[in-house]
Amino acid sequence: MTAQDKQIANWHDRLVRTAIALSVLVMVFFVARWSFAFMLDDQAPKWVTTLVAIAVGVCGVWIFFWIFNEIISLIPGEKARERLRPLVFVGPALALLIIYLIYPAINTIYLSFFDARSENFVGLKNYAFIFTSPQVQVAFRNNILWIVVVTSVCVTLGLIIAVLVDRIQLESIAKSIIFLPMAISSVGASIIWRFVYAYQPAGRAQIGILNAIVVALGGQPVGWFLRPPLNNFALMVIMIWLQTGFCMVVISAALKAVPGELLEAARIDGANEFQAFLRVTVPYIKGTLITVGTTVLIAVLKVFDIVYVMTRGNFNTEVIANRMFLEMYRFYNFGRGSALAVLLFLAVAPVMIINVRNLRRQRS
């Protein structure tokens, strides 16, 4: 074969491949359109819809990458190809990130300066409302209470449990049991705790275990989540129950990394167990403690499901996220809802920065 022949064959090859790629692209377009219409059809049985969604989703993504990889390899010039190829793989993720995360975030900030129907510019009025409304003030107070109580209790409990189980034989079983609530969604957990706290008037059978115990001991049934300030703590217990397992597991892993020699040395120097723990172990795992603490803190800042399911913010248990939902979806006041979202965003930001900095320090 001459060089010219080779070139012609090459061109041939390219043409065929382009044609295939393009025709597959057209095909994919029609299949996607058809399957989209099919998935919207609520007459179709659910399992068929699911199967179609999985098939189109998984194959679709694969074909998508294949086509674009094909197209890229048709571009002449090694350098250009190497530049473009990563974009094919990062591009979709980046596009999704922009469409679903960055754009809504910016739009939320934008909407927070407009009125309820997002029609007229109102300046900082929504923010003024947030900082003066007594209902939102209750939400602020509760959020701060949540942050302080839940975060500190979760981390402390997690640390204590991690240290204690470290020394028993059935460590993995004990840890699994404490970790178990993590597998339950907040809504599920809240429903479980609704039963725990259930209230029936005196004289009727108490279906809630707490009130059953109180009544068995001769007391009057208590409306656990009705009366402040008790009700706020009753709700926090749920979050603590959910998050302690997470704290424990992460801290426990960090504990294993504390070198035995270090503790040994401390003991030889005359430190008792308690001192060794406070002066050696805790400083050694400080980074982990901060990371765990900030992670829990962020979760607590955003707490919504628990309050929504248990009290819907009634009885002075309002929190910011629940208030935001109320403004948005009950009062249709998009301005105020967005302003609350922005506020939450600003509250989370410094914590995130601390968290990421800490992670980087640990890595390096």
Binding site: A105, P201, R312
Partner: protein, 476 residues
Amino acid sequence: MSDRKLAVLTVISILALVLSACATPTAEIVVETVQVEVTREVEVPVEVTQVVREEVEVTTVPPALEGPYEHLARARAGEFAGTEVNIFGVYTGEDANRFRTALVPFEQATGINVTFEGSGDFETLIVVRAEGGNPPDIAQFSQPGLIARLTDFLVPLDSFMNMDQLQKDYIQSWLDFATFDEQLYGLFYRASTKSLVWYPTPQFSDAGYEVPETWDELIALMDEMVANGHTPWCIPIEHGGSTGWVATDWVEDILLRTAPPEIYDQWITNEIPFDHPALVEALDYMATIWHNEDYVYGGPEAIVTTFVGQTDELFPAEEGADPECWMMKQAGWIPAFFPEGIEAGTDAMFFYFPPIKEEYGKPVLGGGDPIGMFNDRPEVRAVMEYLATPAGAEVWIKTGGFNSPNRSVPLNWYTNDIDRLQGEIMKNADVFRFDASDLMPGEVGTGTFWSGMVEWTLGEKDAETMLREIDESWPE
């Protein structure tokens, strides 16, 4: 990408994640709407409806009941045969089926194909569809508040309907509830009254109790019950995110009985302050019942933690036993929540919540489902006109579980006492007023008014403080 850039990018994307996660909790909306649907709508047991449906004959409508409606007459002449009209609304399940059957005579007579689709997410979807330029021809709402929000998209009905006939068929209040900017946007198709007190019939008469006709008689009856060791009331108000609306219904019912209706109307629009002395007085009346632990089963704790649909305290499980409470004030749909085997009409009955001050007569507090029109085509007009006539509800009235606000509906169409008596109460009302909290801005009507009533019930705040705070929360 350098480590630093990566870190910055991570922070930004996680922040964005947090923010957008906050802004769009879609899953929760579903929960909210589903719950509202369960209680605001009446789901009648299937067996009952099937039996009844066989009895219903689709009568040929006497023209006298049809009224002089132009498009309806043209439709009956077959002018629009073969066209299609779609209706979207809040009726689901059995309600949806009955609404469809009520449309059948019209379809058979005109050849117009009318389809109805109901959704538990109606309130969210209709706004999206209207604003997105894809509204249904006709929408069936559950309260006029949403109509007020969508007037930009709705067709004013007075632009084509015979208003004289409408004024003959409906008392002015019904038309006023759906009139915004002096134009009529909605037609009330179904009505319900909230001024009812339910009681267990056999036990009530065995104990020698008599239905009270006045407020004093009611108080006397309550004292008699207490003297007998009975608890007069059950007041369950727990309803998830909507907890509190039962309490607002009480306030409204009492206000209509202790103050002139003008006060009520001005109170809805905040022309008079929310904490007007008339309101304080109404709450004083309410407190004589609500804040007296002898009168209410379980006291405030039970009031706010018992689900609105829990009625089993009214009906003793054992033969010959006394119920745990004897009266419950609730709207006409509550029989759907009675325990199994309890039949409204035989095991339970209602009486009219008695008047308080003689001069204000017998007012009635109620609600209703309005129908609005989005697309202006002759056949759509014909359907609207059909639904405005008694004939538009005839089948549903005869199958039961329905009250029409239309005055021209003959009372003998009602096939059971429960419906007939409610129809009578509404027909005889000296004053009829719509549920005020449904007409107030959402921030108050579904926000501070609800939560304020809960706090007042628990005794966390007194009436004056609670009412003043609601007044301050009124949007500008």
